[in-house]
Amino acid sequence: MAYADIAAFFPILLKGAVVTVQITLGALLLSTFLGLLLALMKRSPFAPISALASTFINVIRGLPIIVQLFYIYFVIPELGIDLSAFQASIIGLGIAYSAYQAENFRAGIEAIDSGQIEAAKSIGMKSALIMRRVVLPQAVRIALPPYGNTAVMILKDSSLASTITVAEMTRAGQLIAASTFQNTTVYTMVALMYLALSLPLIFGVNRLERFFSKSRQGANQ
């Protein structure tokens, strides 16, 4: 393992790492939005809407993420919608993880004691306001640890984008390794760089969790 090799590989892998972070953030944002939407749809009193959400969640959870990525990258363009590999990876991971996010949010929402909702109604709050002021602020705190875990999983699974030609960190590593045969150096570097991204995220979530549990002081019963 030569230092010269490390110095030469690092800028290439760093470029890949930037793409990895972009995919992760994009997919996290999309999965958060879609997950919240699905969680609210699933709680809808209107049966077709909740059934639609449940079906979507089950189908998505039942499919390997890599198959979803292939589907979006190879099949959707045949319908006349043009997607770059980068866009396809964000959409694919975002949709795949929206099902898990929906479950995170649903668990958070359902953990709120119904007495609080009745109290909110009793001061004249309408359901949208109850959601915004009473349920979601608390549900977010409850959903935060699983949400953080999901973020870490998205970061790691962004490596699947390498299979649809996105030059993220894993793909960059593969390319260097294939041309230099420095497998040990390259993949050790790749592994360490993933840890450099995921460990701060894990610690950050732990800290946030502690901060929230301090200001929340538990539920009132």
Partner: protein, 242 residues
């Protein structure tokens, strides 16, 4: 002010209310007593539409209470409610709990809402707790915050659903003191309670419910001291003996 006219209500196959009628005049304090399962909490929850009723009618100043109508929210701002388990918002401070309705439902300016909330907290004896979170308070303190939260909406009436049943005995007194104060100020109150001495002292009228019906009603002194109905006599004997 509140008129309940022959309401019926069933939960599945169980008839919980079988034609309850009750009129509450402005400024009146009415206590609902009765064994558990008699329907007294359900009556209370129907008044502000937390529960729907199957037939009959409830009106507040002539306006019908109907859960499915869009005016139910505005109606609820006029009739406050205090719950057995307090139901404060645990993620907000005491002051924020009290200000929540005025600011976000009524659209009061923040400064005004704060001032009003602070004066209400002073009234219930908790001015110094305004920055605390609900779980840092005792049950009795939480219940007094809940009363302040209901008062913050400037309601015309307040419904109390067993407000002291979840409290340790030594904390009951402070809550009852606040309620006595409200009654003395002329607040219209409907109180589901097991506190017979409170009912005797504060209530203008006591209604005894049994099996989903009001089987006896009248001035507190008469119903509690000289009950006519055998069910009432039996219930009071049990409650007062324990």
């Amino acid at each position: 002010m509140i008129a309940i006219d022959h309401i019926h209500k069933a939960f599945g196959a169980t008839q919980v209310l079988k034609g309850v009628s009750l009129e509450v005049a402005a400024g009146e304090v009415v206590c609902l007593i009765g064994p558990s399962g008699s329907g007294k909490s359900t009556v209370l929850r129907c008044i502000n539409g937390l529960e729907s009723y199957d037939s009959g009618a409830i009106t507040i100043h002539g306006q019908t209470v109907d859960v499915r109508r869009s005016d139910i929210h505005a109606l609820r701002t006029r009739v406050g409610m205090v719950f057995q388990r307090f139901n404060l918002f645990p993620h907000r401070t005491v002051l924020e709990n009290v200000m929540e309705g005025p600011i976000f439902v009524k659209g009061e300016p923040r400064a005004e809402a704060r001032q009003h909330a602070q004066s209400l907290l002073e009234k219930v004896g908790l001015a110094e707790k305004q920055a605390a979170y609900p779980t840092q308070l005792s049950g009795g303190q939480q219940q007094r915050v809940a009363i302040a939260r209901a008062l913050a909406m400037r309601p015309e009436a307040i419904l109390f659903d067993e407000p002291t049943s979840a409290l340790d005995p030594e904390l009951v007194g402070d809550v009852l003191t606040v309620m006595r104060g409200l009654a003395a100020e002329g607040m219209t109150m409907v109180v589901v309670t097991h506190e017979m001495s409170f009912a005797k002292e504060v209530a203008d009228r006591v209604c005894f419910l049994y099996g989903g019906q009001i089987v006896e009603e009248g001035p507190a002194s008469r119903v509690l001291s000289e009950p006519q109905n055998a069910r009432t006599q039996d219930f009071l004997r049990r409650v007062l003996d324990h």
